[in-house]
């Protein structure tokens, strides 16, 4: 036991105790950070605010048309109107918005599951299994990151037609169930795990799959969360691909539904568009709050910034 800890605290007579003041430099940093954070929130706040305004208030740039600065009631009905605007799905007997939402959930769920699984297996093979040409394979996989998406878009659509996958969930999900970024992230993470763990598990008789499932997987939770969240966001926001490979409204996703509000040459109902967009981003925000800690840890532990 440390005897020093038992000594009574004697305060010098005549001296006041001072809390350490934050230095001025730190205060400035906080202010700058707060300003930056406010700026980041601004578009989101604008979207939510516009979704609750009348069309007139949106086009006249009335920032706060409600009490106490104005007399306009909050336009909750914009949300109902936006849902109605998407049209009716006779097959499910509901508004198409429900269908878009269900499709987005299905597609994002399958893509996340697939991307996590394939990343896990590929990253393990590339980091722990001694294969001839392993690094070359890894380089080849990484190289695909550097090919512009636009370049392979048409060939990929052609493949979907030729496979007979056009207008099916297969076209919406399968091409994205492999994530090169996920493989890269997890491989880097696996390489940071001490090799001794692997050797100890092997001596104890664990095979590759057992080591991956019982040792590496629990250690990789933050990295897996990063892959899951990022792939979810990408899948949830995807517009061009779902548009290109589907034809029926009942096969379309939320981002494609959003285009209903972009009328050709005439004009746009901004308030309804913002209502729809707000409904669309709510799940993403919810997901981020749920996975926030693991998400941050994942980026920190892998040393990757995006």
């Amino acid at each position: 036991m440390n005897r020093l800890l038992d000594l009574p605290v004697v305060r010098p007579v005549g001296l006041r105790t001072f809390r350490p003041r934050p230095p001025a430099g730190r205060l400035i940093i906080y202010l700058v950070l707060m300003a930056g954070a406010s700026l980041s929130v601004l578009p989101f706040a604008y979207m939510v605010a516009s979704s609750l305004k009348s069309y007139g208030s949106v086009i006249t740039n009335n920032l706060w048309p409600w009490w106490p600065l104005g007399d306009e009631p909050i336009q909750w009905q914009n949300y109902i109107e936006a849902v109605r605007h998407t049209g009716w799905d006779p097959h499910w007997g509901t508004w198409l918005m429900v269908r878009y939402f269900a499709n987005s959930l299905i597609v994002s769920g399958v893509i996340v599951g697939g991307a996590v699984l394939t990343s896990l297996l590929a990253a393990y093979a590339l980091s722990h299994v001694e294969l001839p040409g392993r690094n070359l394979v890894f380089l080849g996989i990484l190289a695909t990151l550097m090919i512009p998406g636009e370049l392979v878009l048409v060939p990929k659509v052609v493949m979907m037609f030729n496979f007979g996958w056009y207008n099916t969930y297969l076209a919406l999900t399968v091409p994205f169930t492999v994530s090169v970024f996920g493989i890269f992230l997890l491989r880097q993470h696996f390489l940071q795990v001490p090799r001794e763990l692997h050797d100890a598990a092997r001596i104890d008789g664990a095979n590759h799959l057992q080591y991956l499932l019982w040792v590496l997987l629990p250690l990789s939770r933050p990295a897996l969360v990063v892959i899951a969240v990022l792939n979810f966001i990408w899948a949830w926001d995807a517009f061009q691909w779902p548009l290109l490979v589907t034809r029926d409204p009942s096969m379309r996703v939320l981002a494609v539904g959003l285009q209903q509000f972009m009328v050709g040459e005439g004009g746009v109902n901004t308030h309804l568009l913002m209502s729809f967009a707000t409904m669309m981003v709510v799940p993403i925000i919810g997901l981020y709050f749920v996975a926030q800690r693991a998400f941050t840890e994942g980026f920190l532990s892998s040393g990757i910034k995006r």
Partner: protein
Amino acid sequence: MFAGRLRRVLTLLLGLAAILGACVPQAAPTQPGPGGITNPPTTPEMVDAIDLTGKNIEVVYWHNRPQRDQELIQSMLDEFNRTNPYGIRARAEIAGASYNDVYNKINAAIQAGQPPDIAVAYQNQAAFYRNQGAVIDLTPFIKSKKYGLTEEDLKDYFPIFLESDANPQFKGERLGFPTQRSVEVMYYNADWLRQLGYTEPPRDWKTWEEAACKASDPANRKYGWAFRHDASNFASMVFSRGGRILSPDGSAYVFNSPAGVESLAMIQRMFKNKCAVEIPVGERFGEQNRFGNGEVLFVFASSSGLPFYREAVEKGAKFNWDISLPPYTERPAINLYGASVSVFKTTPERELAAWLVIKFLGERPQTVKWAVNTGYLPVRQSAKADVISAFERDPQWGPVARSYARIFDWLQYAMVESPVAGYDPVRTIIDQEVMSRVINDPNVDVKKLLDDAVAKANEILRENAPRSGR
């Protein structure tokens, strides 16, 4: 070493993409089949010889309208499906939110050898498809005695609408057929104009510029003109000065003419004198909102926006406003907007079925219904009265119906920008390398800018010239 490997991988992938890209359907008419019919049919007689009995063909129509309009199109097609004697079943599908979305999707589908039967396409886009051998000339179908249009029908269509689909790059082939059109008009704030001392909208550019500069008060965010990043605005100005974007035979871009130079110099002056405000690309329909707010005096935009402008003003600054012909020098001119519907090369039977669907959509009841629901112009002269009276009864349109009715009188001045393949990148050049430059640089040489832009545009025109054998 890494770079070398990467290059090899990329080369391999690019090679694969190129091979896939080369798998394009050929379009030159095939050897005559049964009954002497080629694919596509090249004479009205060949079309007459096609027998659709018992074929039960399905026709797929790709368009870019929202769900509400999709339901309208499908309801019209359902009527066609019920009434056509050949058992043709037509189905509409939303292929995108914009013409560009549809264009991208069609290009991918062409590569896959699975284009739709018919699709919405601007004339220049149809020319691009034609260059790949993917769309067909509709002339034999239109002239067919059995399946085509009668003389009365043809006279009933607004002549300029029909003419706009005859493509100069392909010897006048009709690569599409009109089912809707709109024009670029000048929206103006009538109350404001009156306050400035003008009793009517300016008819010449000098007066227009003078009024716009009189109205401008940058300190109070008031401007004479809302400048949109849209090559069509520039085209309208060129047309109204007697110029053209493309030569009549489609062989060269000519917007560096004196009309182009004057138009561009005026835009430059307007910004130099702070008489105009730029609407950023990201501010979609920002000019409409600013007009509704009483912040700008003049806007040039599509007539299909009439109900939106009405709503913007009603919910905004509430003033009297109207539309007019854009100002002009000697003869009025107006820019014709609106995509047509093209037929893709499949089989003679399916091509004929596709044509019959388009023909049906152009009939009077359908064109009235479409115009009333979307704000576009009907394609037949006989439909005009029905549409106007429907708008007069509709509270959403109200007094705007009167303005809409006047557009029909202006159609005699309508002009087409450029129906040739590759016009989309030329539009980008006009916006980014010409208009955007002059609004930011009051001293840049406008003639040189236009000469350079025309040289690039003509290079694009050459690259997209019709290939032999297709």
